[in-house]
């Protein structure tokens, strides 16, 4: 193994400022995967058909796996001895940095599929690019998760098409999901200060370069699904800077319950 390019070796050459930026960013990616993975895991045992129960659990497992790698790496970047579980279980909602989209409740299967589809495209094109990041930590995690994200995008794209071009009821439901969730798509591409600085330093891509790829994919899938891409929708944002919807607090209450009720124990 080329020691120069292991994550740990690379960290030694980073300035403290860069480490903070990378920590912030890695944490944001981890929070995003965790919250979406958690949401999907709520479906387990309640899916519309056994095969889709399995598929959603699979995606949730991939996301939680990605979460763990990201938190572990974030903990290393921070260098204060926190663990993946400290980062997941002992931070308040306002400290979470996930975009609003992923914390939205599951709703019906159409809502879940739409939330997933909007996210999967972003995730796919981001990871595709992040694999080439000069930071070996992010590049390594991205390379592993990219394969999984390709499968997720295939799954959600196929379901968008099935539901859009299925029955009248499925069309009505997926259109409703679209009108509920589209307003959260803009935040995915709106860069925070941290993201802007990392993009400037070429550690991560400019999201303005990802967005057209994402839009092209959305347009292609929507055309096949006989859905219209919404126009002139006001975009909600805030999650990436800690201003969440009310849903996140409840989610974290459940997620963090045991760690909060019995502080400091091993499980």
């Amino acid at each position: 193994m080329d020691l120069q390019h292991t994550p740990t070796a690379a960290l030694q050459n980073y300035s403290p400022e860069l480490r903070v930026l990378l920590f912030d960013y890695t944490l944001q990616l981890a929070d995003t995967s965790l919250i979406l993975g958690h949401r999907l895991s709520e479906w387990c045992g309640h899916g519309p058909i056994l095969e889709q129960d399995l598929a959603m659990a699979n995606i949730a497992l991939d996301l939680i796996g990605e979460t763990r790698s990201l938190y572990q790496y974030a903990a290393e970047l921070e260098g204060k001895g926190r663990t993946e579980d400290d980062l997941a279980y002992l931070r308040e909602a306002v400290e979470y940095k996930n975009p609003l989209l992923v914390e939205q409740p599951n709703g019906d299967f159409a809502d879940t599929v739409m939330r997933q589809f909007i996210f999967d495209g972003f995730h796919f094109f981001l990871l595709k690019d992040l694999q080439n990041s000069p930071d070996p930590g992010l590049a390594g995690i991205a390379a592993k998760s990219f394969k999984e994200a390709s499968y997720h995008l295939k799954w959600s794209s196929e379901w968008i098409i099935r539901l859009g071009d299925g029955t009248e009821e499925s069309k009505r439901r997926i259109e409703k999901a679209l009108s509920n969730l589209w307003r959260y798509s803009g935040e995915l591409f709106a860069m925070t200060q941290t993201e802007k600085q990392l993009a400037q330093a070429s550690f991560i891509p400019e999201y303005s370069a990802l967005q057209p790829q994402w839009e092209a994919h959305v347009a292609k899938v929507f055309a096949e699904a006989t859905l219209e891409v919404p126009q002139n929708v006001f975009m909600q944002k805030g999650g990436k800077t800690g201003l969440h919807t009310e849903h996140l607090g409840y989610l974290l209450t459940e997620l963090q319950y045991l760690q909060r009720a019995y502080p400091g124990l091993e499980w």
Partner: protein, 318 residues
């Protein structure tokens, strides 16, 4: 000269059973054999699916990311087991839809153990350790069961179940070596799950109407009481290792039989839960029915879309 043709189908079937030759879907089989298998395999599949619920409860509350991933993957395995068991049962000529309809109408049963609630994180450990332990005891002999597709499905199921059991034991061990509050949690879960787990082996042999025929057809290889005894003998030392007290004042080592004597299962409770009066029977079933009903439009959409697609393909060909 005796030829194969002279033998009746039934004789051929009996000969295969006697010679430990697997019965396969296209083979002739007595109607009662088919019925017994559909009942048993579908009951087993339903148990996997309903069994996702008590543990699924704790996926969102698992105490660490590692535990969360392990639990989610375990519950997902159960969905997978349900899938191959339904497929095995379908080889006998009953559709998955029919089996699910029978579950929802209350005609088909599932393991009563899943009608008990999971009240603390330790229940997840106790279920893995005890319930999966009992399931393995019941299921390992099924790898040699006479019906081929069922036996083959069980090879994979048992492999995964034994992995689950180790994980359950590991949760219990972590709790028992942890803080007093965790040890207490573990003992309470053990107290709650011990007796219902012993009930998983089914009624006493003297009251099990299906056992004799199932043993003769080699669908079943051991009686309920034999398996229950083995389970107790296996689990008591493990409980001692964990430092947990078995909630049975009659438990004593019997040197003569080289096994434990243990107290009587509360059969009244057992039959009550079977009849639908367990703490969670209504909830479990209504949760399954709800998921199925709310998923109807999704299944219809998938079907409608597949038909549209096929039609377009056909038009293109024409």
């Amino acid at each position: 000269m005796e030829t194969i043709i002279d033998k009746s189908l039934e004789e051929l079937f009996e000969e295969k059973i006697a010679n430990e030759i697997r019965i396969e879907p296209k083979d002739w089989m007595p109607e009662q054999y088919r019925k017994t298998l559909v009942r048993q395999i579908s009951q087993h599949a339903h148990s996997e699916i309903v069994g996702m619920l008590p543990e699924g409860n704790w996926i969102t509350r698992a105490p660490s990311l590692k535990r969360k991933a392990i639990l989610l993957s375990k519950v997902q395995d159960e969905a997978g087991h349900g899938l191959y068991l339904y497929s095995a049962a379908e080889t006998l000529g009953t559709s998955r839809d029919q089996m699910i309809a029978d579950l929802h109408s209350g005609k088909a049963k599932y393991s009563s153990i899943f009608n008990y609630p999971t009240l603390s994180w330790a229940d997840i450990g106790a279920i893995g350790w005890l319930v999966d332990g009992a399931a393995i005891m019941n299921q390992v002999p099924l790898i040699r069961t006479s019906y081929g597709p069922y036996a083959r499905a069980m090879v994979r199921v048992c492999k995964e179940e034994s992995f689950h059991q180790r994980q359950g034991f590991e949760i219990m061990m972590t709790l028992c070596n942890g803080a007093p509050a965790q040890k207490k949690m573990a003992q309470e879960a053990f107290n709650r799950w011990w007796w219902p787990t012993l009930m998983m082996f089914g009624p006493k042999d003297s009251e099990s109407p299906n056992t004799e025929q199932s043993m003769r057809w080699k669908i079943k290889r051991f009686t309920n009481d034999e398996l229950r005894q083995r389970f107790v003998d296996m689990m008591v030392p493990q409980a001692e290792f964990l430092g947990l007290t078995v909630p049975d004042k009659d438990l004593t080592w019997n040197e003569a039989k080289n096994g434990y004597d243990f107290g009587d299962v509360d059969w009244e409770e057992f039959w009550n839960v079977v009849k639908g009066n367990g703490p969670c029977n209504k909830d479990r079933l209504s949760t399954r029915v709800k998921a199925h009903e709310e998923g109807a439009w999704v299944r219809e959409a998938a079907l409608a879309h597949a038909q549209k697609r096929a039609q377009r393909e056909a038009e293109k060909q024409a």
